[in-house]
Symmetry: C2
Subunit: 510 residues, 2 copies
């Protein structure tokens, strides 16, 4: 056995420490410059399909290459193909945002390379995850004693929650016997509004509930779930032999960030013995603000709640927080411990300090592999503190309200939905008139005569490279959508973007 077989192109092992240090400093320098220097870069990448792919070799390298070459390709080939999610004028989808302490935490986490599947495979990963999720729950005004777990995305958090909801159905033994080929199992249904995120439906497909197992409840003029319609749907479905088992309410829908009436829904779910899952992936962060807290009233009665620090809490993607007051059901749905993963976690409770009960987090979710994501929450929270985070959230909301005001005052623009948080939905319509409306008085349209203009407007805005907005469709109307969430966005960025929107609209009008 030799450490230096002849065919090798460099010594075995990893980079030498001095080489790592040199490259590491370069990477840090590059990032420091990048974060400051995005101003001149097009926010939405302008490359043609295949342009990045076509510049790179179709075959992987036989021998190791020089670092300088890789970095050159990174700058010259990869970077032009990046849509800059961290750009202060990235105003599309939910403008998820990282921050400097989050970047450094990811670096440390990659160096430790921990898989926190079991308590013992890194006690700090498990214990810090529980601790920072307790901090966050306190800050959000959630009840104490909730069980929290970090997953990668809200897609997974909601899938976990709905798997638990299915597991909570009494008597059917779904974990043991499944759903297929069992005439004694009724058709299962879950309920959510027509504004819910697509991940709810995706979860239902996975769980074997099918499209038809998701009943979409109509929303009202402010895009909130119509609870009376939900009540009727439940009665109707029970009558027809369906077995309702869960309701997904949304606090901050993707299109308009509307909030379903959580209190009323919670009361109904309690009465009907339905699992209530609250999807607060984006807006949940705003519950840190006492003045917004009332919007979330009722989520404390949910069986499970998801909110994503990687959306609006300055934490690099990915990081989603799932809370439940029924961890035993989650565990019952997911725990599977083969011999090679058996550890003595339960028996160690005896030696535990401070009434701490160790848990193996792999038992509460889908993935066995678990990155050490708590580290970034911990460093972001400590860098800014609760008040620093609140100030940034408030700033985003203030800027969104100011933009909403400009739109309302403008004779040719109108808002298409209320703006409860930091996301503004609007469109151009000549002669819309200055108003104080928020779109709630608009009825459905069958044919949106302004769709073409606004699609062209969006294209003109985005192809300027100066900003990137996305869109949605509201009551038949094509709507531009502008969310604020980036830690570096300033009032000047919003003003510049509003000027650009007006200029592009004027240009389209010839």
């Amino acid at each position: 056995m030799s450490d230096t077989p002849e065919e090798m192109t460099r010594p075995l092992g990893d980079l030498e420490p001095e080489e790592f240090r040199r490259r590491g400093y370069q990477v840090i320098d590059w990032i420091a410059d990048y974060l400051e220097g995005q101003e001149g870069m097009p926010v939405l990448s302008e490359v043609a399909p295949g342009e990045v792919h076509g510049q790179l070799p179709a075959d992987g390298p036989e021998e190791g290459e020089a670092w300088e070459e890789m970095m050159r390709d990174f700058e010259n080939i990869i970077l032009p193909g990046i849509t800059h999610w961290n750009h202060p004028r990235f105003f599309a989808y939910f403008s998820i945002t990282g921050s400097a302490p989050g970047i450094l935490a990811e670096t440390l986490s990659a160096a430790l390379n921990v898989n926190g599947m079991l308590w013992r495979t890194s006690p700090s990963a498990t214990e810090l995850e529980q601790l920072v999720l307790d901090w966050l729950a306190q800050w959000l005004g959630l009840p104490s004693g909730l069980f929290g777990i970090i997953t990668d995305t809200a897609s997974i958090s909601s899938l976990c929650a709905l798997t638990a909801a299915r597991e909570a159905i009494p008597d059917l033994e779904i974990r043991e016997l499944g759903l297929a080929g069992r005439p004694e199992v009724p058709r299962l249904r879950l309920y959510t509004s027509d504004q819910a995120h697509s991940s709810v439906e995706k979860a239902a497909l996975l769980l074997g509930i099918g499209h038809r197992g998701v009943r979409k409840i109509p929303s009202d003029s402010a895009y909130k779930m119509n609870v009376e319609a939900l009540r009727q749907a439940l009665a109707e479905d029970r009558n027809e032999g369906w077995l309702p088992f869960a309701v997904v309410a949304t606090a901050g829908t993707t299109s308009t960030t509307s909030v379903d009436p959580l209190d009323e829904i919670a009361t109904l779910c309690e009465r009907e013995s339905l699992w209530l899952h609250v999807d607060a992936a984006y807006a949940g962060a705003a519950a840190m603000l006492p003045e917004r807290r009332s919007l979330f009233s009722g989520w404390d009665r949910a069986d499970s709640v998801v909110m994503n620090p990687h959306k609006w809490l300055f934490t690099p993607i990915d990081c989603s927080a799932l809370y439940t007051r029924r961890p035993q059901v989650l565990k019952q749905a997911f725990s599977l411990v083969p011999e090679y993963l058996r550890s003595d976690v339960a028996s160690r409770t005896a030696e535990a300090q401070q009434d701490y009960s160790p848990v193996d987090l792999m038992d509460y979710g889908i993935q066995l592999g678990r990155r050490f994501r708590a580290l970034k929450l911990w460093l972001v929270f400590r860098t800014y503190g609760r008040r620093g985070l609140q100030a940034r959230l408030r700033h985003h909301i203030e800027m969104a309200e100011e933009l909403a005001g400009w739109i309302d005052e403008h004779p040719d623009f109108e808002r298409l939905a209320p703006t409860p948080f930091s996301t503004v939905c609007f469109r151009y319509r000549a002669g819309a008139g200055p108003d104080s409306g928020d779109g709630t008085s608009l009825g459905d349209v069958a044919d949106d005569e302004w769709a073409g203009f606004n699609e062209d407007l969006l294209e003109a805005i985005n192809s300027s490279g100066r900003t990137f907005l996305s869109h949605t469709r509201l009551r038949g109307r094509f709507a531009l959508r502008l969310p604020l969430g980036n830690i570096r966005t300033t009032a000047a960025d919003v003003r510049e973007t509003w000027d650009l929107i007006r200029r592009k609209a004027a240009a389209l009008n010839g």
Copy 2:
């Protein structure tokens, strides 16, 4: 609207660039020292349950804190609670391993903070993912033209594959109608060996197949699936009204790294029209070595294959590669495009270069949020090149073979399974005798009289702090399990560990 509300504890925005640079250098320095300086650290963390938790405040900070304080806590409180997965003598589970270029790539990726859900949300993320997975497929000897996608873990890759397998069942319209309350849907079954990973069962539970929908086929004396038993099970089940729909074969089982007879299984699956998924999460990397390639013969005929670069290809967790020759089925299972995610990707094919067809990767998986993981594969592959990666894999296999030889020669130790790759399963048994055996001649035992001794031995080894091994149970016997996969592990580490094992066994014999 003011940028400086009074209640703020620091200016809005992120860290200043110079502050980021200063902290960044410190983090790089810390990592350089850490990677070299793990020698003195206990591999398996020695903290008591709650020890980390108890040293940290129960409430999150009101105000931002000083960086130096956080780093002090990181070193003094977090680090002792870390089990060092990157330690060269971490020999537990699969000793997943990162590398320096992987760490730097994660840093860049966190700074870009890209969500690669759509082609346009960062063309480089999608195109680089497709490119590096093509490189990898070539290196592994997989057929050209496979569709590849990166997920976080094999748990998710296998869940995606089995969702597609369920979707491929003709006529049942499971996506639309689900499985519940449908007397016309037969009981569904998938087949895997009794050595398969727990993630296969977890996927079945999620998919509504249930425990009973997973039939575990017995393995032979070398822990490979018995194909004749599979054939019989299929006939029996079809006879009894089950609908078989998938087989999961394993190339590198978790307990012993045995490889199921893929060619035979592929032939059977083709004849029986079953989806064949190959779980090569750990061992797949070894297909880069021409001299090991024959072990994988037949995986080129699978419908889907998973292998994890984060296990044995020097890429920090998480990174799993899923390949399929039936991407349309994957898409059919998962694609759900709400208005707010509609993009013009299909229409852009016209402007595409080099026959490249852009895809939106969100359509092929569960998670909408997708980190830019391709970057780390690209930098790791380019840093070491194919030959550099091969040399490291060979070195691990050579060291494992040498250890296996020492065990075989020793009068009081015996191997409990063949060692096809870099993982050795063995135990202490006084008077086992020097042999050239590999455990395949051992029959089942009802009562393992050596279990207690070997459990104590494992405990003594791990509590030394010098190394960390895990265990499994093979034909009723408690087995120690030692996998090699760390880029920094040297022959000296393996020798030291073998010396330690023998010393601890001698001490136990007292």
